[in-house]
């Protein structure tokens, strides 16, 4: 086993201990994350159980190592939106460098700290990053944060910026089913739609009646999941964005109540992704590629329930978006950055 693989394996072992509710670390993680993730306890458990990639295949790891260039030192600036993303971000850095320096999110610092505690000496946690010439910096965050970072970066630092985006689900009408509605509802519920892979919009290839039919199934599944995995608290800015989107959708589309969120369906020639709050816009169209292309630079993930022909067309039109089945949009394998744009 080479050194990079050993480093990543140590991280995976640390993550497994946090994932396990029977360990002291696992117990403390659940308590700490409740205060910092804005997720419910059930939402945190869902993230740990299903979205923390602790059992990658050899092929996944080979892809992970192939996705990075070796660097003497790699810095990582973490975002706080999806707590398990710290694991992937640090794994990428460890794949590239023996020396890894991490600045945790101020909003959600616990997961990175727990990983550091579980794997002492594997990487260094700092309060401020000080990258120097020749270093690599992987930065995860909002557009303004990344813009400011880019402007103030010392010369010679290689920046890998992972910015905001959103996911889109695409279904052909013949794939409308309770199972697919349940799968997409899970994609929506995971991390309460705060991830860059989270679906904000869905496209039904069909007419408005098809979109409405799928919307009804999805609303029912969202309500059901909402009882099992309650929505966490929304911050004022999130609440404002959800309120505005909801009123806009109530005016412009057919709105379906999906407590605690909503589903809006209708025909449109543009996407208006939901900003969170377990909501989704479903647009009916006969030409999904035309609908997606204007937003191609923003689309990070496609969850698909389509035939082979459309799958090929989507792959060609959005080569940088991660493709997966519905229900797996927020569960990318540990094969490199989540965002491939």
């Amino acid at each position: 086993m080479n050194a990079a693989r050993e480093r990543v394996e140590r991280l995976l072992e640390a993550a497994r201990r946090i994932q396990d509710p029977a360990t002291d670390l696992g117990h403390r993680a659940r308590s700490a994350l409740l205060g910092s993730t804005r997720l419910s306890a059930e939402g945190i458990e869902l993230g740990l159980a299903e979205c923390l990639e602790t059992e990658p295949t050899d092929d996944d790891l080979a892809a992970l190592f192939a996705s990075v260039r070796p660097a003497a030192r790699t810095h990582v600036l973490l975002s706080g939106n999806v707590f398990v993303a710290a694991h992937r971000a640090i794994a990428i850095a460890l794949a590239a460098s023996e020396r890894v320096v991490v600045r945790a999110s101020r909003r959600e610092p616990h997961f990175a700290r727990l990983l550091a505690e579980a794997a002492p000496g594997l990487f260094e946690l700092v309060t401020e990053l000080e990258p120097a010439r020749g270093d690599a910096l992987w930065a995860y965050g909002g557009a303004e944060t990344l813009e400011a970072l880019r402007a103030g970066l010392p010369h010679g630092v290689e920046l890998f910026a992972q910015g905001p985006g959103f996911g889109v689900a695409v279904l052909e009408a013949s794939f409308i089913s309770v199972e697919n509605a349940r799968a997409l509802a899970l994609d929506i519920v995971r991390f309460d739609q705060r991830g860059c892979l989270s679906p904000g919009s869905a496209i039904v290839v069909g007419d408005a009646d098809d979109a409405l039919a799928f919307g009804r199934l999805l609303a029912s599944e969202l309500e059901s999941l909402g009882r099992e995995i309650p929505l966490g608290p929304l911050e004022p800015e999130e609440l404002a964005a959800v309120r505005r989107h909801r009123d806009t959708m109530a005016y412009a589309r057919t709105e379906l109540w999906a407590s605690p969120g909503y589903v809006a369906t209708g025909s449109s020639n543009e996407l208006n992704p939901a900003p969170g709050g377990r909501a989704l816009e479903i647009v009916a169209t006969t030409d999904p590629v035309a609908l997606l292309l204007p937003r191609v630079s923003e689309i990070t993930a496609l969850g698909m329930a389509v035939g082979e022909s459309l799958a090929r067309a989507l792959d060609q039109a959005l080569p940088g978006a991660r493709k997966s089945a519905l229900g797996r949009m927020q569960r990318p394998p540990l094969d490199g950055p989540a965002d491939r744009r």
Partner: protein, 369 residues
């Protein structure tokens, strides 16, 4: 009563209210318009239903988000009855995102624009030379600001600069082109005003005024001392930003006029009415700089962005605007502009963080890039 008859009756009531000819009550008129819109617009009726609203008080009327104008048609009447379609100049970081405000008639728009504008921008009676630092409007008009500017030119001046009959879309009056502000054209207009011994009224976007100030450098315009400059639009986080009081000072210096002659206007495509500062000496509207006054037919309520409930007096909220002149679209509009109440008016603080950059100045910026 048909839709058009009902609409015409409401328009007439609003115009009479604005002209002070009727003893109509703001609340009653707003509710009558809201009920008319709920009856004739299934979309607005859906919003009312979604919010479980009862149209029994103005505060209960659901405000239509400005985003809705971008996402769908906001009108009670069918497209074939559109007289004009005003378009927003909004853009996101990645793509154009135009909103549309269709008007079945411009009569009410014109009436209220002239009344509100006259109260703020006209310090004395008589003719004046009116020019605009804005691009020549499209035909048919697609910019509400361009439409309003041309209306003011026609009604408050009504002549060509060379003394001939008034012509529309006059490049001698719309003094922004692909290469920027037509400084020579502005100097010509100022010269005409001086020769006629009339005031000069300059209607301008903030972005155009920055361009003018930059183009002038240390030079000063030989403008009449009675010159008034109406400034509208902001910078919305794009291109070069200038603090509004710095711009006011620079513009006053450029024209050689007191800062009180630089009057801010606030309007948006989704509305049919405008708010103004009351700084111009001799004008009907009087108030401190940075305080925008609502005309009697429009009300601004700062509301919490999350709950949409009114915030405490003096606290900052996003502007919910009830505009009686929006008879055929949305009588209550929910903006993302941050405002607070101050001195019987409102103070514009800026845009809610994360909101889509939009506004009149952007059209000029797009033109110049």
């Amino acid at each position: 009563m048909t839709l058009v008859e009902a609409s015409d009756a409401l328009h007439a009531r609003v115009r009479a209210f604005a002209e002070g000819k009727a003893s109509d009550d703001f609340e009653a008129l707003a509710l009558a318009i809201a009920r008319f819109q709920a009856e004739h617009s299934p979309r607005f009726a859906a919003l009312v239903k979604s919010r479980n609203a009862r149209l029994e008080s103005v505060d209960a009327v659901p405000a239509v988000p400005t985003d809705a104008f971008r996402v769908t048609r906001v009108a009670v009447h069918p497209p074939e009855r559109d007289r004009v379609r005003f378009m927003t100049s909004g853009t996101t970081r990645a793509r154009a995102a135009h909103g549309v405000h269709p008007l079945r008639t411009t009569e009410t728009y014109e009436t209220v624009a002239l009344i509100a504008g006259a109260r703020a921008l006209l310090a004395e009676r008589g003719p004046r030379v009116v020019v605009s630092l804005a691009p020549v409007p499209d035909q048919p008009p697609s910019s509400s600001l361009g439409f309003m500017m041309e209306l003011f030119q026609a009604r408050w001046d009504g002549r060509a600069l060379d003394g001939g009959p008034f012509v529309t879309r006059d490049t001698a009056r719309f003094l922004v082109g692909p290469s920027g502000v037509d400084v020579a054209g502005l100097e010509r207009a100022a010269g005409v005003a001086r020769e006629r011994d009339e005031p000069l009224l300059v209607l301008a976007t903030a972005f155009a005024l920055v361009g003018l100030v930059d183009a002038l450098g240390e030079r000063r315009l030989a403008a009449p001392p009675s010159t008034t400059v109406m400034v509208t639009g902001g910078f919305k986080g794009r291109s070069r930003e200038v603090e509004k009081n710095t711009l006011r000072r620079d513009v006053a210096l450029a024209f050689g006029i007191p800062e009180s002659h630089v009057v801010a206007e606030y309007g948006m495509t989704e509305l049919s009415s405008q708010l103004y500062e009351g700084t111009l000496p001799g004008a009907d509207l009087r108030g401190e700089p940075d305080v925008l006054f609502e005309p009697p037919w429009l009300r601004v309520v700062p509301v919490d962005p999350g709950t949409l409930e009114p915030v405490a007096d003096g606290a900052i909220g996003i502007a919910r605007i009830v505009d009686l002149a929006n008879v055929d679209s949305a009588v209550a509009v929910q903006t993302e502009d941050l405002v607070r109440r101050r001195d019987d008016g409102i103070e514009l603080i800026g845009r809610r963080p994360g909101a889509i950059a939009r506004g009149c100045s952007l059209a000029l910026e797009a033109l110049l890039q």
